[in-house]
Symmetry: C2
Subunit: 453 residues, 2 copies
């Protein structure tokens, strides 16, 4: 089906699509609160029925936590296999009184549908499903389709992550489609070219029985607050480069072309300051802000706490200190190996004569890095060119979706992250909504993309 | 009066001394809680009457806060002038249910009198007053006496500190006696040879509008938690020496004799670890722990706070960070000048492109440093030799009593800090008490000392 045929089909079915989308949104599938466990299961079961109605073989895959909706449709021999990942769970809705209409009573106002999950990720998953349905109904799909829609993305993806190795056969594919990202502006197609990996840990120092008088003990005892500051300061050199031995060994070299694409986005230092409050002058020397976010690893303090923090002063030497540290990984950095490198650095520079512990070590997952020369990306570029007069933007994101990186790794499929979310959708906040025009654009993209693969 | 005569007088008057001491202790003179303002004033007025009864001219000196009890007695021409400093206010009493007997119903159990203030400072001030009374009653005192007993020591000494410059003439003297310190063990006379000065301030970094996602912004923005750690780490070099320019310019050289005396105390590294939990291996290389506490300046973090501190992890870049910093000063370090040196260092090393502020700068006061070759200390040594078979211990304390340093400076008097408090007195805690034997020792010391000066 070409663009015109798809637009015509969409127009004819728009009202039904909208009603079904509203039905999907009405399930109170809040994953973080166990009081909604039954609502999550009901939502998953509705999806199974819906996918079967579309002509796929669908089932619930049980995990140790919430079930994953899985659907399968064998394609033509020799056609590629598309794995789709999405999630049916949503964020909590509080504060409820800030919602103009109830979060689980989807309401259309202007061109926007308001509901929790309207965009993230029910809305974006639903335009993919409607695209798939359209191609199946019109006998226009050659590919094998493998769908995985989980119910815990908003609360850690534990069940699916645990199950991925077991489902290795089920997961094998050529392309991993995800529609859970955003566009830089309405009508501007945006390709997410990378996600960073993540690790985190907590550093503890202590051993002093209680807070000490800073006069009676100052200069005698090692001060955990000061020692923690000194330890954290060893993590980077003067130029902002990470000083952990071996940390850059597996950081991929990025092509000049990809750097150019990354820097061609609408980012400006002044715009950043306007939005965030300060200039984007952190990180390593020798890279633009966009490059530092997309292509370079980080080690950040998420929190540091020790001693007195109230009004006025309290002249103590704190008995202990903690620092919470997270790392973003890029390229081929192995999460396990880079965590070990960081731990070795911290242990090497730890102060003597204080208790020292590295705890809550968590391997979050590897990075995803796609090159603009990849055939899948080139096909996507051709599809996106049909959708908009605007040139697509290529965005190497700094964030992490560990389960996507893991799915890509185990499935062997090349990731393709294109989404149509906008900043104004207010995902995770009261009055979440999704622009029906962006939904339609997503439908067109997914329909054309599936055919192009 | 010699020791035997004093002992005999004390024995004859012991019961009366104890009853009067109990009366003094029964006043609920808690300075930190304004609900007790009247009790403080009643206590001060009782002291005035009591001092007049002893034959001194006594009055209340009003300040902007609580009144200071002042008493004066002209001595013989050519005799030295002794200024005495103490305080009639006490710490709060909570938690009240941990007291075995009510804190303001002084109760003798064994050789100890239990009450809030039993030692700190009503008990120690009262043996000085009884010594003075004894000498006056026996016509054995040549010195001019100037007494200042304030009512706010436990809550910042604001009133007296503010008034010291105005009272310059009233304060002029040769020796400043203070009985508000402790002894290292029962029966072991202890001379406090130094107190450190103090400054403090708070460092703030921010400018980021709200906590940021550590993925979307990591490597782009300067992380206030990390920048604060890096700034704090500049305060000392690798050897633990303070790296602030000029900071050691006015640190006095301490004689080998004083170092020996300081190190001759009962301090051991193992004992410290037993008590505190860690070895005393902080501070600068090249000095013993006791020397580092007594003779060297410090810059300590009293608190550092930024970002997430709860369970688990939260991958944010915190929007701001604070650090509370206090400094102990020694020798001739001028508080104003050393604060300026520290501020200049912090400003020089502050990160660019974050908001940066040094706030709540407070000049706490200079150090007190007495040498063992001082004539007053030598006279004290001779007195203490009479009191005990144990050799006196000379202790250079790390803490600060800013008002004492200021009184010494303005009065021109040489400080003489000898007290008989013990660790087991539990000052500031429930069931504070003072050993009546230590009270008697204090009485003997004060009586002999006043005659020796």
């Amino acid at each position: 089906m070409d663009k015109a045929a798809l637009e015509s089909y969409y127009k004819a079915n728009h009202d039904r699509f909208l009603e079904e989308w509203k039905t999907f949104l009405a399930f109170e599938s809040i994953s973080t609160d166990s009081a909604y466990n039954d609502k999550c299961t009901e939502c998953a079961q509705w999806l199974v029925t819906h996918l079967e109605g579309m002509g796929l073989h669908a089932e619930l895959l049980e995990t140790s936590t919430k079930p994953v909706v899985h659907a399968y449709k064998k394609g033509k021999d020799g056609a590629s296999t598309v794995v789709y990942y999405g999630h049916y769970d949503v964020q909590p809705v509080d504060p409820l009184d800030l919602w103009d209409t109830p979060p689980f009573e989807p309401t259309l106002r202007g061109s926007r549908l308001y509901a929790r999950g309207a965009q993230d990720n029910k809305g974006q998953t639903f335009y993919f499903l409607k695209a798939l349905e359209t191609l199946l109904a019109n006998d226009a799909l050659d590919n094998t389709i493998k769908i995985f829609i989980e119910g815990e993305e908003e609360t850690g993806s534990y069940g699916i992550t645990e199950s991925i190795p077991k489902w290795k056969d089920k997961l094998q594919g050529d392309v991993l489609m995800v529609c859970d990202t955003g566009a830089v502006a309405k009508g501007v197609p945006t390709v997410t070219m990378g996600l960073r990996g993540i690790n985190h840990l907590e550093v503890y120092m202590g051993g002093i029985k209680h807070d000490l008088h800073s006069g009676s003990h100052g200069g005698m005892v090692k001060n955990p607050a000061m020692e923690m500051a000194r330890l954290m300061a060893t993590l980077h050199d003067e130029s902002g480069r990470i000083a952990v031995e071996g940390y850059y060994d597996d950081v991929a070299n990025v092509s000049e072309q990809d750097k150019e694409l990354a820097n061609a986005g609408p980012f400006t230092e002044e715009g950043y300051k306007e939005q965030i409050g300060v200039l984007p002058t952190g990180g390593e020397d020798g890279f633009t802000a966009v490059e530092r976010k997309g292509f370079r690893p980080t080690i950040e303090i998420n929190g540091i706490h020790s001693g007195y923090g109230g009004e006025g002063n309290k002249t103590i030497i704190p008995s202990e200190a903690i620092a919470k540290v997270s790392c973003r990984l890029v390229g081929n950095q192995d999460p396990q190996k880079s965590l070990e490198q960081l731990v070795a650095h911290l242990e090497k520079h730890a102060p003597k004569d204080l208790d020292f512990e590295i705890r809550h070590k968590t391997i979050g997952g590897p990075a995803l890095l796609v090159s603009s020369t990849s055939p899948v990306i080139q096909k996507a570029a051709a599809v996106l060119d049909q959708l908009s007069d605007e040139k697509p933007v290529y965005s190497w994101e700094g964030g992490s979706i560990p389960v996507v990186a893991e799915l890509a790794k185990v499935s062997g499929a090349e990731p393709l992250l294109i989404g149509f979310g906008l900043e104004e959708d207010r995902i995770h906040a009261p009055n979440e909504s999704f622009d029906v025009d962006q939904f339609a654009l997503g439908f067109l993209y997914a329909s054309l993309m599936l055919q192009a693969l």
